[in-house]
Symmetry: C2
Subunit: 229 residues, 2 copies
Amino acid sequence: MVEEIYQHTRQLVSVDCIIFGYENDELKLLVFKRWIEPFKGELSLLGGWVNHDESVTNAAKRVLKLISGLNDIYLEQVDVFSEVDRDSGGRVISVAYYALMNIDEQNRHLIEHNSATWVSLKNKPKLIFDHDDMVDKALEKLRIKATYDLIGEHLLPEKFTLLQLRKLYNAIFLREFDPGNFRKKVLSLKVIEQLDEKDTFESKRGAFYYRFKKLIQVNYGNQIFRIEN
Amino acid sequence: MVEEIYQHTRQLVSVDCIIFGYENDELKLLVFKRWIEPFKGELSLLGGWVNHDESVTNAAKRVLKLISGLNDIYLEQVDVFSEVDRDSGGRVISVAYYALMNIDEQNRHLIEHNSATWVSLKNKPKLIFDHDDMVDKALEKLRIKATYDLIGEHLLPEKFTLLQLRKLYNAIFLREFDPGNFRKKVLSLKVIEQLDEKDTFESKRGAFYYRFKKLIQVNYGNQIFRIEN
DNA sequence: GCAAAAGTGTTCATAATACACCCATGT
DNA sequence: ACATGGGTGTATTATGAACACTTTTGC
């Protein structure tokens, strides 16, 4: 029997996705031309409603799959945005997620879905509502994530050089990392492994390709240990 | 004009508050006896619905004020809990917040509101739904917060000794901090100031009282204490 | 005197940083 | 030859952790 306490006023709940990509030594953001009022035609993040039969995270995954065709997109929750007047179309509580995707792999789908554009974060256009705040907070979270974990698995190609990885970090933190120190630090983490192949596009001498190790997560009670293959 | 796109199915949205306090060298949690079905009579976190005319954070503040009588309670968002079947009374999306409060100051209000009890985290009873997960995640967030910022302003009395502060940290991290090193580290942060008064209850020699400086703290990512492992 | 906490100083290991230096190769 | 990035090594500095040691005072 459902108590009357469960008959409270209900809210529109949405997800908004801050989709980051990496291209030409720059961190980019995927923005969409809005097709409904209010602010029809203006730029916004990718959004969608949360259905009754799915979790909020699943709503974000569903929406991302819809535009990219991909199932396993890396997602992190950013924050809940719920100011009463944040959406001039109505009272909407929105949960923001940032997603990381490889631009090259996804370009085809996104071009078909032609209301979407990759823009450089350096000259990001104004977005509707509080979407600019969402991007700022997402970038902040991404930077924190990148200080604790080596990211790049979802932004770089399968195999990449240390130069590419360093340039990605340069783009995220807007500073120049020392090549030698960056190399030593990254390799000490033991989360990427060297391949036999070399890249000769970016350097004359040739730089070894690396890839992220395939890690299996084993759950022992409460603690999760990451164990190598 | 409201577009039909804003006529999507709406959700019940709630807040749940993980209220931490500190007493007798232990971190405590405020739990409530549930007065509605399902699970009437069992223990739960403090919860409440989000109204149409308030932000989610304001809903948490409102609910906290209702039980404590206090306006400015320290709050941090923990996470969104939205599994479809997490609440057996219906589909409810819940935003969890942790709150820090000084137990001594609030005891009167809470005793009046006698369905509430402070329990030690060491022998925390089972709570309903996914509230145990909420507590775990809140504690995790609190620990992270305490590594970056010196906390205690909302858990300790106005004036406190370094011993009290250290015991609070011992309780949060469940380990013993070295007295000398703790003192040096804490004082180097320059966020607390020594008073002229001494406490002679806890030590024979007498220990200076300290209090948090009244100023805006800007802390950019320097860790205070390292978490092991 | 002894215990207990206050408070200071010293040593050691580790990690980040700055930077020098040689290697390999395409132009 | 030289510019460019690859890759290694080293000195310096900062920081945390371990711990020794003195001070003060109630019991």
